[in-house]
């Protein structure tokens, strides 16, 4: 795999690294987007059920994640939003007694196929966590950690990736003079952008964000949201959020999850974000997005 040369070509395509390209949310032609999405599904989730031991956490979820769009997963606490997200990069494998039925396909390939290398899946599907979790090492090493795993060892190559990734994460200007300082010395919002840069450094196709702004202040939250807009041109983004305003602001598509009477999470409705928030087809969705419960 030639990560560096691909990276290099991107450097010039994506414009000057270090400059956050802040795009205004695209809202036009939303209804036809839904039709497009079906054609350009990056991930296809078919009849997915997740079990922890005997407990069924998710039941029969089918969903297409459109390419180069932001998909939000919303729903009340405990409805399985994070479980769903974590089944997209097989992080649930770490949970003892985890079992999965149905299919999660990335570019048409079943990621739970026994022949598939989980390492490769996790490179292609990156993840950003609720709490910023920079490694206890320098800013440079944090971003270089992923590329090193894939055999990139030359310092000049790494330096290029680090600069590019930090630029994509709109952090380069703030940290370019202190790359050797600890990543843990940054502010919460900077730490989270560092974690995003770290995820970007291995050139994933999909980025999963598990409530990425829930531990941040409003200004940092806004930066993360702007960043998501600038990233969606190159990446497919899935975000779990309990903040409905955030889902409405940043996402192109929204999936609404709720627990069924057996306490398993089910997909109530999936559609273009404006439709979900202004014209929900299901009563439960309407009650949730209008704040009548949840």
């Amino acid at each position: 795999m030639n990560l560096v040369s691909a990276q290099n070509s991107n450097v010039f395509k994506a414009g000057k690294p270090g400059q956050a390209v802040t795009l205004a949310p695209v809202r036009q032609a939303e209804q036809s987007e839904a039709a497009n999405a079906a054609r350009q599904a990056k991930m296809k989730i078919a009849d997915l059920s997740v079990f922890y031991g005997k407990f069924r956490a998710l039941a029969g979820i089918s969903l297409d994640i459109p390419e180069n769009r932001i998909t939000a997963i919303i729903g009340p606490s405990g409805c399985g939003k994070s479980t769903l997200l974590r089944s997209f990069n097989r992080m649930n494998d770490l949970v003892p007694n985890f079992r999965l039925e149905g299919q999660v396909a990335l570019d048409g390939e079943d990621i739970y196929d026994p022949a598939v290398d989980v390492t490769d899946i996790r490179r292609r599907v990156g993840m950003v966590f609720q709490r910023p979790n920079p490694f206890p090492m320098s800013i440079f090493e944090n971003v270089a950690f992923g590329p090193r795993l894939y055999g990139i060892g030359r310092h000049s190559d790494l330096a290029q990736i680090v600069e590019h990734s930090l630029g994509q994460a709109a952090l380069w200007d703030e940290v370019k003079d202190k790359l050797k300082e600890s990543g843990m010395a940054l502010s919460g919002g900077q730490q989270q952008r560092l974690c995003i840069a770290r995820a970007l450094a291995v050139q994933p196709d999909v980025i999963l964000m598990d409530e990425p702004a829930s531990s941040l202040d409003p200004v940092s939250t806004l930066k993360i949201e702007d960043l998501m807009q600038s990233l969606k041109g190159s990446f497919t983004i899935v975000i779990v959020t309990h903040n409905m305003q955030q889902a409405a602001r940043v996402s192109d598509f929204t999936a609404f999850l709720m627990v069924n009477p057996e306490r398993a999470g089910t997909l109530v409705e999936f559609g273009a974000t404006p439709q979900i928030f202004t014209n929900p087809h299901h009563k439960q969705t309407e009650e949730y997005v209008t704040g009548r419960f949840g």
């Binding site: 992080m91 979790n133 795993l149 894939y150 600890s182 843990m184």
Partner: protein, 318 residues
């Protein structure tokens, strides 16, 4: 009068003056008691160190630290052999114990409920309760008897077994303190579990692991009983001379070092024990000096480790 209003009076400040006074007195009394007990604990430490300095200070001079012992009855001489021996034993013990200790700690921390994890944890607890002299006999049978001679190697192994539970326990605690999200962050990048442990969890827990390791070293450096059966003691042990004679016999430095660890060695606690038993006032005075050197070495190790860890963690946090 209603019951509730009557009870509520108790909460008002003007009510229950005697109760308040009694509480205040009890508070002062308990606080004083706690303070007294703390003073007692610290006082014992100060007493021990102070008395050792008082009795041993006069023996300390350059010769004491740089010369080997003279025969009983001849004034002067030092305990260089014991200082060198202690350092060699501590080094060997640390060398033997660090890898299995840290590896076992990772296993126990990550697999606490597997059969092997439970056995290792229970075994660690039992091992830390085994009297150190028993460990000495064990290594005696295992190494000394089979090799035919006492040696620094055997002493180092006995001390390593002693250190093992301390290292496993502290390392396990430190690994558990590392946030699980760090591990997840690494795994989510596609890093395999072993690389995550080595590159992320281990560095994050490093400060605590080093502290535990040095506590183990300090503990081992002060042990006497297991060395009686293993390192034995050797008051003519002198690293410099042994290396020189090995080199003169055409051996390289590596062979010289192998020779050294195959010799019986002395250590400060062993020397302290032997000197204090001798019917010679000079030796008894020197045994206080030995105690002082031992305390200083252990204290310097401890304080040095803590300072280094403090500096390191402040660098990490920025």
């Amino acid at each position: 009068m209603s019951g509730y209003a009557e009870i509520s009076k108790n909460f008002r400040p003007e009510h229950g003056g005697s109760l308040r006074r009694r509480r205040k007195i009890t508070n002062v009394f308990m606080l004083g008691l706690a303070g007294l007990m703390s003073l007692l604990a610290v006082g014992i430490l100060v007493w021990i160190v102070g008395y050792v300095v008082y009795r041993g200070g006069s023996s300390i001079n350059l010769d004491f630290l740089t010369q080997t012992p003279r025969p009983v009855g001849i004034a002067g001489g030092g305990v260089l052999h014991a200082i060198e021996g202690t350092l060699i034993l501590a080094f060997l013990a640390g060398l033997f114990a660090i890898l299995p200790g840290v590896a076992a700690a990772f296993y126990v921390a990550y697999n606490p409920n597997t059969p092997l994890g439970i056995v290792v944890r229970f075994g660690t607890d039992v091992l830390s309760g085994v009297p150190s002299i028993v460990i000495g006999i064990f290594v005696y049978v295992l190494v000394v008897k089979s090799s035919g001679h006492y040696s620094a190697l055997a002493g180092g192994m006995a001390l390593a077994i002693l250190m093992l539970p301390i290292i496993i326990r502290t390392t396990e605690e430190m690994i558990k303190l590392v946030p699980g999200t760090l591990r997840e962050g690494s795994l989510a990048l596609g890093a395999p579990e072993w690389k995550t442990a080595l590159k992320v969890t281990l560095p994050a827990a490093m400060n605590g692991i080093i502290t535990g390791f040095l506590l183990g070293i300090a503990r081992a450096a002060g042990e006497t009983a297991p060395l009686l059966f293993t390192a034995l003691g050797n008051d003519r042990f002198e690293v410099g001379k042994m290396v020189t004679s090995s080199l003169q016999n055409g051996q390289n430095i590596f062979q010289a070092l192998v020779n050294i660890i195959q010799q019986p060695v002395d250590s400060l606690p062993l020397t302290l024990f032997k000197y204090s038993q001798q019917p010679d006032i000079e030796r008894i005075n020197q045994s206080w000096g030995v105690a002082l050197v031992l305390i200083v070495i252990v204290l310097v190790t401890n304080i040095g480790a803590r300072l280094w860890v403090q500096r390191r963690s402040s660098q990490l946090k920025g």
